[in-house]
């Protein structure tokens, strides 16, 4: 029996002395400056095991190092959708704006509010609040009993939560309607046509707000409020994908 505490102590000591996880192949390549290798390794990992905010943010860093602004911004923006507080993605976007000249629309108050939690969390909370409020209203009627004190509390709490979720849902909806420009040397067009007049130049990596689609084009609004049309293939929506789309089929240099 005396050996038992010693045995527990040994297990705890072993756990405490356990080495942190060894760096992955992608991390090693990134540390060595082999950013192309890091991208390949992390993309492979994402394809086999799925993506997570950290992996996307890391991929964004490596893509940025390779000079591919569009892909990097897509990675960082998507990382923030999953985890609005991801430090690597936040730093990447800030770096892109400060050093890389990337334009990104300023967040509205609803978007700032929505970024406290993820879009899915807002919707889940709102849905649960709605059903809880509805249940609290219907249940006493079904049981033909007057609503009790707990029932009243539940109604108030659920309806308050539902009301709090509404700006969050609106902000999340607004965040979802954004896209990253993936092509270089393109301009906003005045009309959604093949020969539409170019009105303003936009750069790869810029984030724009998207509107309605028409004739293979999408109406967008830039960070400085200019609106125009871009071809659907020139931008990549922030929502609706995993890894950045391979839009740039490499032509011969």
């Amino acid at each position: 029996m005396k050996a038992f505490p010693l045995y527990i102590l040994m297990i705890v000591a072993t756990l405490g002395a356990a080495e942190p996880d060894a760096p992955s192949a992608g991390e090693k390549a990134y540390a060595k400056g082999d950013f192309a290798g890091a991208v390949e390794s992390w993309q492979e990992e994402a394809r086999h095991h799925g993506i997570n905010p950290g992996l996307l943010a890391a991929l964004g860093n490596a893509e940025w190092k390779l000079g591919r602004k569009g892909r990097a911004m897509v990675c960082w923006e998507r990382s923030l959708l999953l985890d609005p507080h991801n430090a690597v993605a936040l730093a990447g976007i800030r770096h892109g704006q400060n050093a890389g000249g990337v334009e990104r629309p300023g967040a509205t108050w609803t978007e700032t509010y929505a970024s406290v939690a993820g879009a899915d969390l807002w919707l889940l909370v709102a849905t649960l609040s709605f059903w809880a409020a509805l249940g609290a209203v219907l249940l006493p009627r079904i049981r033909r009993q007057p609503a009790g004190e707990w029932n009243q509390r539940l109604r108030v709490t659920a309806l308050t939560l539902l009301a709090l979720c509404i700006p969050g849902l609106w902000g999340a909806r607004s965040l979802a309607h954004r896209a990253v420009i993936r092509k270089t040397e393109i301009s906003l067009r005045l009309t959604p046509t093949q020969l539409g007049e170019a009105t303003q130049a936009v750069n790869e990596g810029d984030v724009v707000r998207t509107g309605r689609p028409f004739n293979g084009h999408i109406r967008v609004t830039t960070s400085d409020g200019k609106t125009g049309w871009l071809r659907a293939g020139e931008i990549e929506p922030v929502w609706g994908g995993g890894l950045p789309a391979d839009l740039d089929q490499k032509a011969a240099p």
Partner: protein, 557 residues
């Protein structure tokens, strides 16, 4: 003989009908050729005006596919109304009858139309190919890739009776390719015999099945001269080849692939100075050797680091035969034994269809001098209190942590829950069920609290049924009376809120004060009189009145 004579007759007719004042005759020698056999075409024009030299003949003539045909020359006589044009050609490789479409000869004072010209190619004609000089196209037979450098050659080989002495006029018609001659009129390798070789390079610029057409003329010299050979003449050649072109596969394509297609080797880096001082620029040269599209490669970039400042390369485009030099300028920042940064490079091998990665191995350099004062390159928020945790980075990338959030948030796609059809359909269905259940409960409660609604509804249905039956039972007095009384009782009971069976004539008169008492009595007697032994029949007039009463009660409900 039959073909020959029909050809001659056709030729004569065409010549006669070509123009009222112009006569055009043509003659092909030999008339029937073997596949690939050279031939001569002579066109004679006789006009009413002096003709002079024909212009742009090659532009108008369109030989059929596989046939090479070039204007050799025109016999010019001053102020002559006759013109003779000689063409040399090579028959197609396939048997058949070939037609050179009608074309125009443009003379200074007149344009004259030349009718269709036919050439028959048959394998029955004896022709020894090796006797004649011939041109062969040498190009790899495989699928090519956009941006790849394809090397090919045209081998103009002399025959046993002819030798190739010169060539000219090589041109290419290929919309999906860029074409360039690399070496012209070089002697053929000894094993291929006498002849000349012209090498060229093709680069596909778009994917798909593209056709390359290469035309040219070789000058041949023959030992013997006769009417039927082409001693000392030119001989055209035409090659048409369909080439399949694809983009380099996406699968397995490295992120830093910059368009290199071929087989390359990377030589170790060479530094211009192996013992520089801190801040002293050195030139770093990386040599890429191999066969491929060396000219189209974008130089790999080196990123600056703590040890090296990398300036843009100044001599990027300097290249030699089968070699490409990438020259970078590096400025050391720290003293000590340092290694130059590795240069990585990816290429695609079109033969094995695999990507490969090359590394230009680092060079070791001893940097002398002193390190400058350390500067924190990471910008910090100047407003943050000293020593506080708020020293946030204002610029620079954070150290990646790909494992963060991996336990609970693995996704294959980043799609909002709001885009999930299952989410909205399940919630919508639940809401619909609740609304439907609430509606059913409300309706049932209302009906339960207003029972007369259902009583009236049932009575109305009963009356409608009774009216239908009564109409059918007009000839049967007892049945008519029984159904009619039943219907009247049912309707009046619903109106009065009483039991059906308890209804009498008086109750019916309360509901229908205009009804005749006698009619009701007769009806009730006919319906129930048999029970008491004085059954009667009901008259037709009473039947009509009863029907009116039944309709009236139904309308009252």
């Amino acid at each position: 003989m039959l073909r020959l004579s029909s050809l001659l007759i056709g030729c004569l007719l065409l010549a006669l009908t070509a123009h009222g004042d112009d006569r055009v005759n043509w003659e092909i020698t030999p008339r029937i050729t073997a596949p690939g056999q050279p031939f001569r075409l002579q066109i004679q024009v006789d006009s009413d005006v002096p003709l002079g030299g024909a212009q742009n003949v090659g532009r108008d003539i369109r030989p059929p596919r596989g046939m090479a045909l070039r204007l050799s020359g025109q016999i010019l006589r001053p102020d002559s109304t006759e013109a003779t044009l000689n063409f040399s050609g090579v028959a197609p490789e396939q048997e058949g009858e070939y037609v050179i479409p009608s074309f125009n000869l443009r003379f200074p004072r007149k344009m004259i139309s030349v009718p269709e010209i036919k050439l028959i190619v048959s394998k029955t004609v004896a022709f020894i190919r090796t006797n004649q000089a011939r041109a062969e196209l040498s190009i790899p037979d495989r699928t090519f890739y956009v941006g790849e450098l394809i090397r090919g050659s045209i081998n103009m080989r002399g025959g046993e009776q002819e030798s190739v002495v010169a060539s000219f006029g090589l041109e290419s018609v290929a919309e999906g390719f860029t074409f360039g001659v690399t070496s012209d009129r070089q002697p053929l390798p000894a094993e291929m015999g006498q002849g000349l070789q012209t090498s060229f390079e093709l680069t596909p610029i778009r994917e798909g099945l593209n056709e390359v057409t290469i035309n040219g003329i070789m000058l041949i010299q023959s030992g013997s001269t006769s009417v039927f050979n082409n001693a000392g003449r030119d001989r055209p050649f035409t090659f048409r080849r369909r080439i399949a072109v694809e983009h380099v596969p996406k699968k397995g394509r490295p992120a830093d692939w910059s368009g290199a297609i071929g087989k390359f080797t990377a030589e170790p880096q060479q530094a211009s100075n192996e013992k520089p001082e801190v801040g002293e620029p050195i030139r770093l040269r990386a040599v890429l050797t191999g066969s491929g599209n060396l000219d189209r490669i974008v130089p790999p970039e080196i990123m600056s680091s703590e040890v090296w400042d990398v300036l843009p390369a100044t001599e990027r485009r300097r290249h030699a035969e089968e070699q490409r030099f990438f020259v970078y300028t590096l400025v050391p920042r720290l003293p000590g034994k340092q290694k130059t940064p590795e240069i990585r490079f990816s290429s695609f091998d079109p033969e094995t269809k695999q990507f490969s990665r090359l590394v230009f191995a680092s060079a070791e350099v001893t940097v002398t001098g002193n390190a400058p004062a350390k500067v924190d390159l990471v910008t910090r928020d100047p407003a943050a209190p000293i020593g506080s945790d708020a020293g946030l980075k204002l610029s620079g990338l954070a150290k990646p942590d790909p494992a963060s959030g991996s336990l609970f948030s693995r996704h294959s796609m980043i799609e909002p829950l709001a885009a999930s059809k299952l989410f909205w359909s399940s919630n919508g269905l639940a809401l619909l069920l609740i609304v439907a259940a609430t509606g059913v409960i409300l309706i049932a409660s209302y009906l339960a609290s207003h029972p007369q609604i259902m009583i009236h509804w049932r009575a109305k249905r009963g009356l409608q049924r009774a009216i239908r039956q009564v109409t059918r039972a007009r000839g049967n007095s007892p049945a008519f009376a029984k159904i009619a009384t039943g219907g009247l009782k049912l309707g009046c009971a619903a109106i009065l809120g009483a039991e059906t069976e308890a209804m009498t004539q008086s109750d019916i008169l309360r509901v229908l004060p205009e009804a005749k008492r006698e009619t009701l009595d007769a009806l009730f007697n006919a319906a129930d009189g048999n029970k008491f032994g004085f059954g009667t029949t009901i008259r037709t007039a009473n039947q009509e009145e009863t029907l009116i009463l039944l309709h009236l009660v139904r309308d009252l409900l």
